[in-house]
């Protein structure tokens, strides 16, 4: 399926939950409602024409513009060999995005990483803990406005 067919199919199925799309990009993407990602993901995985069974990558992003954060899902279908990029946006004031780890197991650790690095709270995640940083670390380092703390547990942080 081409990106346009996928977009049309999603639009008829979910209507308002599909926000915008950029289908002429290098890799076409579709942005969706952050509170409905699970439903949409489940459809993308199980629909016979889609069958996106393989999640290649899930990355958090800070767009450095009006406090906009986001998660980017790179999906691939082992059956039909097509790709699509999904995006879900949120803000720093209300950083909530629904988890898709019940749809693709691999999303579990990736979502923990997005929470760790960007402070995006993944709703309905089974085990939302920090993953790469120590459990008592403060702040979310990949945010563009992050300041390196002077001390960590009383130890001076170098540079």
């Amino acid at each position: 399926m081409t990106a346009e067919e996928i977009y049309n199919s999603l639009k008829t199925k979910f209507g308002d939950a599909i926000l915008e799309a950029k289908l002429d990009a290098l890799q076409p993407w579709i942005s969706v409602d952050p509170a409905k990602t699970k439903e949409i993901a489940l459809f993308l995985r199980d629909d016979q024409a889609m069958q996106f069974d393989y999640m290649m990558c899930l990355s958090g992003v800070d767009y450095n513009k009006d406090g906009k954060l986001g998660i980017v899902y790179h999906l691939f279908s082992m059956v039909h060999k097509h790709k699509i990029v999904l995006k879900a946006f949120c803000t720093k004031e209300n950083p909530h995005i629904q988890s898709v780890s019940s749809v693709w197991g691999t999303a579990n650790w990736h979502e923990r990483e997005a929470f760790d690095m960007y402070g995006i709270i993944i709703d309905e995640h089974p085990d939302l803990r920090r993953i790469l940083l120590p459990y008592d670390w403060e702040g979310h380092p990949l945010r563009k406005d992050y300041k390196v703390p002077e001390f960590y547990n009383g130890m001076k942080v170098p540079y």
Partner: protein, 395 residues
Amino acid sequence: MIETKTLPTSYVSQPGALKTSSGHTLRTDEMIINMGPQHPSTHGVLRLEIVVDGEIIVDVIPHIGYLHRCFEKHAEHMTNYQQVIPYCDRLDYCAAINEEHSYVLAVERLLKIEVPERVEYIRVIMAELQRIASHLIAVGTFGIDAGAFTPFLYAFHDRELILNLFEMTCGARLLYNYFWIGGLSHDIPPQFVDKAKEFCTYFKPRIKEFNDLLTFNEIFIKRTANVGVLPKDVAINWACSGPMLRGSGINWDLRRDDPYSVYHKLEWEPKVGKGEMGTVGDVFDRHIVRMREMEESVRIIEQALAAIPAGNVQAAIPKRIRPDAGEIYARTETPRGELGFYIISDGTGTPFRVKGRAPTFVNLSVLPEISRGAMIADLVLIAGSVDIVLGQVDR
């Protein structure tokens, strides 16, 4: 929960079933054991929190991040795209060339530049040599996990010969900074082709020798067959890749299925696990896939060496690397699986966001799924067969 090894009935957990000779019930509780962070068979600083019932694993909780050194934050703070390459080397220090390849490919696609044919052939040769070197570490250390020390020495001896080839080409033995955006840092020296051919001729019988020594050793088979079985659907749902995925019987290789470089011009085929000693997707299958991949890599190198065209390897290197605003996800097949880089460019000379999709990070996340119900001693083998490099897991 996934069924792993079929256990003898005497091992199956039945609380209250064990009795002392005087007839008293033994107290059987779950216990938590920490394996790592400093443990010889975790292949680096990985901590596994293991919940056990006697000898049987109830759950495994991996704790990672001991080697985290903010690769992604560093990448955003470089002054140009080229400077990220040495950091990519340090992700998976056992297969640095393959990491560079993936990053360089992503930036080239973002810049929409074509790379000379000669560069592509040299890249394929280097990537495959690196794959052999990396698999040699993987199978060698895996032998140690199973209690076989000698194969490790064989593996490291042969790996040394590959490192000599790299040293001859670019001066470095481990972290190369050899692939540049649009080209290479050096052309291959004149004697390289002969030396590489010599290595291929030498190495082919060595694979058989290694197999006789380790792979088809009766004790090794007994330890690895039917252990840590990763079923097909779980492998896909958890996005496993590389020998993990192929070991589960899925005929999938990015070099063929999402083609890049000149792999499509060469004759070779992906190797998949067939469950020849036990179940499809067990630890033995993942091991034998690595062994057979080395044979295929030799095949690829020999063809590429014969077909390498003339040309200037630095002809396509751009003077200024400033891609248009946009984003790309490019992936390659590294020895450990699918390594992808998601790069967002905002039109300036520095990447706005670089995310490394590390294959070992993803492959390790499936470890709890495949080790539940196994014995503690088998966990060492299961973790070894995932072939983790903590530098890449933690980035």
